[in-house]
C-alpha cells in the first residue's frame, strides 16, 4: 500500500530548505532554521516512510501514537544536537501587535520590525544590553556596569562574583525580555509578572506611580510568599542592585515598545510610507532619521522620568495613634505614656470597629474578600496584565482568544481575591504594609485605593484604616492580638524594671 501522506510537505512549507541545508552539511544550518520546521520535517518524513509497505492495521491504529512519539523524540534530538544554539534575543511583543492588528485592522509586521530595530539601537541585546546616553542625568537611573553584570551569559569569577544574573535567576519565569512568558510561565499561579506594562503591585508609591528602586530590591529580598517568586536574600547586595537595574531597564524598554506599537497602529500611515523607525534612513535620509530618533528619545525620556520621580512620590506611613494598639506595631515610646491595662479592651474594640468597616459599604472589602475575609466574594475579575491584551473581546471566548494564544499569550485566569484568613499577605504582613495596601490599593489589580478623608468627605479616617488593619491581623490569627498586647506589657515592664 503506497500513498502520499497529506499534511506537511517539505516542498510546501520550507522543508526543501531544511533538506537542502542538511544535505549540504552546513555547519550553521541548525541555527538558521527554526526548530519547529525541523520537527515538522521529521514528522513528514516519518509519515512518508510509514506509508510504505506497512500493514494497514499498523498505519491506522498506531500512527497517531507514533507521530506523538516522533515529535517527542524529534524535540529531544534537535535539542540534543544543539539546534537551539541561537543567540538569545529580545522577542517582539507579538501579543500586543496581534491585538492591534485585529482591533485596528492594520498590518503590524513592518511596525513590529521597525520597533525592534529602534529598541536594539537604544537598548542593545540580551548579551550586550545598552543604556541610552540621553538618559544619563545628574542622578543616573541605573548603572551601565551593573547592567552588564545582570545581562549576558551566566558565569562567575575567582572572587565569586556572578555575571548573567537575570539569566541565572529570572529568565525561566519572566522571559528574556521580561514579558512574563518564560518557559515555566504557563504552569505557575499567579503567572510571572510582565514588566513591560511598567506596573508593579507592591510598592511604597500610589497607584499610577512607578515603584522606587528600594521597593523592587525589597521585593527581591523578601520574595512573594506563597508564589513562585523566591526570596533572593542569599545573594550579595551588588547582585540585587544589578538585578534591580535590569528590571528597570527591561520595564522601560518594554513600555517604550508598547508606546511605539500603539502609535504605529493608531497614528501612522504605513500605506503612505510612514515608518516608526528606519535605520537605513541614517544614510539615505538623515533628516528623517533624526526626526524619528528624536521622537523615540522623547518617549523614552518620558518613561524614564516617571521612574526618576518615584522616590519623591513615596508615601510615608505614620504609625497609629498612641492610644490605639495595633497588632505587631509596638511603639514603646508611646506605650510608656498610656495605660497598658486598658490595651486589650482597646484592641478588642478596634477589631470590632474594623469588622464593621470591612463589611460596610465605604471600604467595601467584603464585596471581593467575602464577609469573613475568606476570599469568597466576586470571582470573575481579571488583572490589568490580562485586560491589556484581551481589550475589546471576552477573555472567555475561545475563538477570540485563539490568535492571541498562538502568539504566546497565556490562557486568561481570573484574579481571585485573597483569602485573608490564611494570614499570608503577599505584599508584606506588617501593619504598615497592610495600611498601605488598604489606602493605596494594589496596582494592576481590582484592589482599589480607598476614599480617604478629608479629600473625600464620605471616605475613611486614618484611625478607621488602622481598625481594619487590626481586624485583618486578628482574622488571620486569633491569638495575635493577645500575644501582641502581652509582648507590649512584657517589654514595657522590662524597660521600667
Amino acid at each position: 500500500m503506497r500513498r502520499r501522506s497529506s499534511g506537511f510537505s517539505p516542498q510546501g512549507q520550507g522543508g526543501a530548505e531544511v533538506k537542502h541545508a542538511v544535505a549540504l552539511g552546513q555547519a550553521d544550518s541548525c541555527s538558521a532554521i527554526p526548530r519547529n520546521q525541523i520537527e515538522m520535517f521529521l514528522v513528514w518524513k516519518f509519515r512518508h516512510l510509514a506509508s510504505r509497505g506497512l500493514p494497514a492495521r499498523w498505519q491506522t491504529a498506531t500512527r497517531a501514537a507514533a507521530f506523538r512519539a516522533l515529535i517527542v523524540v524529534g524535540s529531544l534530538l534537535t535539542m540534543a544536537v544543539g539546534c537551539n544554539r541561537q543567540q538569545p534575543s529580545f522577542e517582539p511583543n507579538r501579543v500586543l501587535a496581534k491585538r492591534l492588528e485585529l482591533s485596528e485592522s492594520v498590518p503590524m509586521e513592518q511596525a513590529t520590525a521597525d520597533v525592534g530595530q529602534a529598541l536594539e539601537v537604544l537598548f542593545g541585546t540580551p548579551d550586550t544590553p545598552k543604556w541610552p546616553e540621553f538618559l544619563d542625568g545628574e542622578q543616573p537611573l541605573i548603572s551601565r556596569e551593573r547592567l552588564a553584570r545582570a545581562g549576558g551569559a551566566v558565569s562567575s569569577d575567582e572572587e565569586g562574583r556572578h555575571f548573567g544574573l537575570f539569566r541565572e535567576h529570572c529568565v525561566s519565569c519572566h522571559g528574556t525580555n521580561g514579558d512574563g512568558l518564560g518557559p515555566t510561565a504557563a504552569l505557575l499561579n499567579p503567572y510571572p509578572r510582565d514588566f513591560r506594562l511598567g506596573k508593579f503591585k507592591f510598592k511604597s508609591t500610589p497607584i499610577g506611580s512607578k515603584p522606587t528602586r528600594d521597593d523592587l530590591k525589597q521585593l527581591l529580598l523578601r520574595g512573594v510568599v506563597g508564589t513562585s517568586m523566591p526570596s533572593f536574600s542569599l545573594l550579595e547586595d551588588e547582585d540585587l542592585e544589578a538585578l534591580t537595574d535590569y528590571v528597570i531597564y527591561l520595564s522601560i524598554r518594554g513600555e517604550l515598545e508598547r508606546r511605539l506599537l500603539n502609535e504605529a497602529a493608531l497614528e501612522l500611515d504605513f500605506d503612505g510610507g510612514e515608518r516608526v523607525f528606519d535605520e537605513a534612513a541614517k544614510e539615505s535620509d538623515p533628516e528623517l532619521y533624526a526626526e524619528q530618533m528624536l521622537h523615540i528619545q522623547s518617549q523614552t525620556q518620558r518613561i524614564a522620568k516617571q521612574w526618576s520621580e518615584a522616590e519623591s512620590q513615596v508615601v510615608a506611613i505614620e504609625g497609629p495613634p498612641a492610644e490605639l494598639p495595633v497588632g505587631r506595631w509596638v511603639d514603646l515610646r508611646a506605650a510608656e505614656s498610656i495605660n497598658l491595662s486598658q490595651m486589650p479592651d482597646a484592641l478588642e474594640q478596634s477589631i470590632a470597629r474594623g469588622k464593621q468597616l470591612f463589611q460596610g459599604n465605604v471600604a467595601s472589602c467584603a464585596f471581593c474578600h467575602g464577609p469573613e475575609g475568606a476570599g469568597d466574594g466576586q470571582q470573575n475579575n481579571y488583572d490589568e496584565w490580562t485586560r491589556d491584551w484581551t481589550l475589546g473581546f471576552d477573555p472567555r471566548d475561545p475563538e477570540a482568544l485563539s490568535p492571541m494564544l498562538e502568539e504566546g499569550a497565556l490562557k486568561p485566569r481570573n484574579i481571585l481575591p485573597r483569602n485573608l484568613r490564611l494570614g499570608v499577605f503577599r505584599g508584606g504582613s506588617s501593619p504598615a504594609d497592610l495600611y498601605r495596601r488598604i489606602v493605596f490599593g494594589i496596582e494592576g489589580t481590582p484592589m482599589p485605593a480607598l476614599p480617604m478623608k478629608p479629600d473625600n468627605p464620605q471616605g475613611l479616617t486614618a484611625n478607621q484604616v488602622w481598625d481594619i488593619v487590626n481586624y485583618l491581623l486578628n482574622l488571620s490569627d486569633d491569638s495575635l492580638s493577645t500575644a501582641t498586647t502581652s509582648d507590649l506589657e512584657g517589654s514595657s515592664q522590662a524597660k521600667n524594671g
Partner: protein, 346 residues
C-alpha cells in the same frame, strides 16, 4: 567494532570457565561508589549555575588542575569549590577506569569483559571531553547532554561491578541447579523484561528531566509544559514498572536473593524519587494551588537556599541511582535466567 554488550547466554558459557578476580571486582565497586558523589557534585554544579565558575579547561584559572591552590579551591567561592571538585572527582573516575582496564587485562580471562572495560574507559574520557566542551563553548545544551550521559556512565560502572562479581561468575549455576532440582523456575522472562523496561523508562525520564533542568529562556512555555507533562507521565510509568517488579518478587519466592534485594532497593529509590520530585517542584516554583493550605501559602522559596538546593540535587542524584539500580536488577535477572535455562536438572 563488535558490539561489546554482553549476551547473557554466551557470557554464561564462557564465564563459567573463567576465574573470579577480587581485584577487578573491588576496583569496579570502588569506581561505582566514586561515581555517585561525582554525580552529586555535578548536580550541585547545575543547581548553583556554577558550570562556568572556572572558565578554562582542562586547566583551572591558568593552573594545572592538580596544582590549583587548595586555599582558593577549598576556602574560595562555593561555585568554584563545586566546579573544581567535580573536575577532580571526574579525574578520579578516569584514573580508576584506567586501573580497572589494567586489572581486567591482567586478571580476567573473559575477552568480552576486557573489551567492556575499554569501552568504560572510552566512556569516561568522552564524558570528560563533553564537560570540557561545555566550558569551552559556554553552551548549556552541551551541559544538558553531559548531564544525561553522566548517569549512563554510572550505570556502566554498576554493570561492571555486577559482571565482575563472584555471583555473576560462579553462583548462578549452583543456584539454578538447586532450584531446578526443587522444581522452581528461578527467574521468569516477565521479570527480566520488566527490569529492562524499568531501565529504559527511567533513562528516558532522566532525559526529559534534563530538559526541565537545563531550560533556557528561548524555550517556549508550551514546550516546557509538554516536557513537564511527559515527565509526570514517565514518573507514573516508572512507578508502575517498579511496583510490578516488587509484586513479582513478593509472589515469586524462588528468585535469587541478589535479584530480590536489588528490586527492593530500586523500589525504595523510586518512592524516594517521587517524594523528591514533588519537593523539587515546590522548592523551585511552589504549588499552583498554594492558597488551599496555610503552610504552602506561607512558604517563600529561597533562591539557592540550602534545603532547596539539597532537594533538587538529591532528585538528580536519585534519578541516576535508579538507572544504576535498574541496570543491576536487569543484569542479575537476565543472568539468573540465562544460567537457569542452561543447567540441566540433576
Amino acid at each position: 567494532m563488535a558490539d561489546p554488550t554482553p549476551d547473557p547466554k554466551h557470557i554464561g558459557d564462557r564465564s563459567l570457565a573463567t576465574g573470579y578476580s577480587a581485584l577487578v571486582h573491588r576496583l569496579s565497586v570502588i569506581l561505582t561508589v566514586a561515581v555517585f558523589p561525582l554525580i552529586w557534585v555535578g548536580g550541585l554544579v547545575t543547581t548553583y549555575d556554577a558550570g562556568m565558575a572556572v572558565p578554562d579547561w582542562p586547566g583551572t584559572y591558568g593552573w594545572n588542575m592538580f596544582a590549583y591552590p587548595a586555599s582558593t579551591w577549598l576556602f574560595g567561592p562555593f561555585d568554584l569549590l563545586v566546579e573544581h571538585s567535580h573536575r577532580l572527582l571526574g579525574t578520579l573516575a578516569g584514573l580508576l577506569s584506567i586501573a580497572l582496564v589494567v586489572a581486567a587485562f591482567r586478571n580476567d580471562g573473559r575477552p568480552w569483559f576486557r573489551r567492556w572495560t575499554l569501552l568504560l574507559l572510552l566512556a569516561v574520557i568522552a564524558q570528560g571531553a563533553l564537560g570540557g566542551a561545555r566550558v569551552l563553548l559556554d553552551e548549556r545544551t552541551v551541559a544538558m547532554i553531559h548531564g544525561c550521559t553522566g548517569p549512563l556512565f554510572f550505570a556502566m560502572a554498576a554493570a561492571t561491578a555486577v559482571m565482575s562479581s563472584r555471583w555473576w561468575i560462579e553462583r548462578p549455576a549452583a543456584e539454578a541447579s538447586s532450584q531446578t532440582a526443587l522444581g522452581q523456575n528461578a527467574t521468569g522472562p516477565f521479570l527480566c523484561w520488566l527490569a529492562s523496561s524499568l531501565l529504559v523508562a527511567s533513562y528516558l525520564q532522566l532525559i526529559v528531566g534534563a530538559q526541565l533542568r537545563h531550560v533556557t529562556g528561548s524555550v517556549p512555555h508550551s514546550l516546557f509544559k509538554g516536557f513537564v507533562h511527559m515527565h509526570l507521565g514517565l514518573a507514573g510509568l516508572v512507578a508502575l514498572i517498579a511496583s510490578g517488579l516488587l509484586l513479582t518478587c513478593i509472589f515469586n519466592g524462588g528468585l535469587p536473593a541478589r535479584v530480590r534485594r536489588a528490586v527492593f532497593l530500586v523500589f525504595a529509590a523510586v518512592l524516594l524519587q517521587i517524594a523528591l520530585g514533588i519537593g523539587t517542584w515546590i522548592v523551585n516554583y511552589a504549588l499552583p494551588w498554594a492558597e488551599l493550605n496555610a503552610w504552602l501559602a506561607s512558604y517563600t522559596i529561597s533562591a539557592k537556599g540550602y534545603w532547596e538546593s539539597l532537594v533538587v540535587t538529591a532528585h538528580v542524584a536519585t534519578g541516576a541511582l535508579i538507572i544504576s539500580l535498574s541496570t543491576v536488577v536487569a543484569l542479575r535477572a537476565w543472568r539468573s535466567r540465562a544460567t537457569s535455562t542452561q543447567v540441566p536438572a540433576n
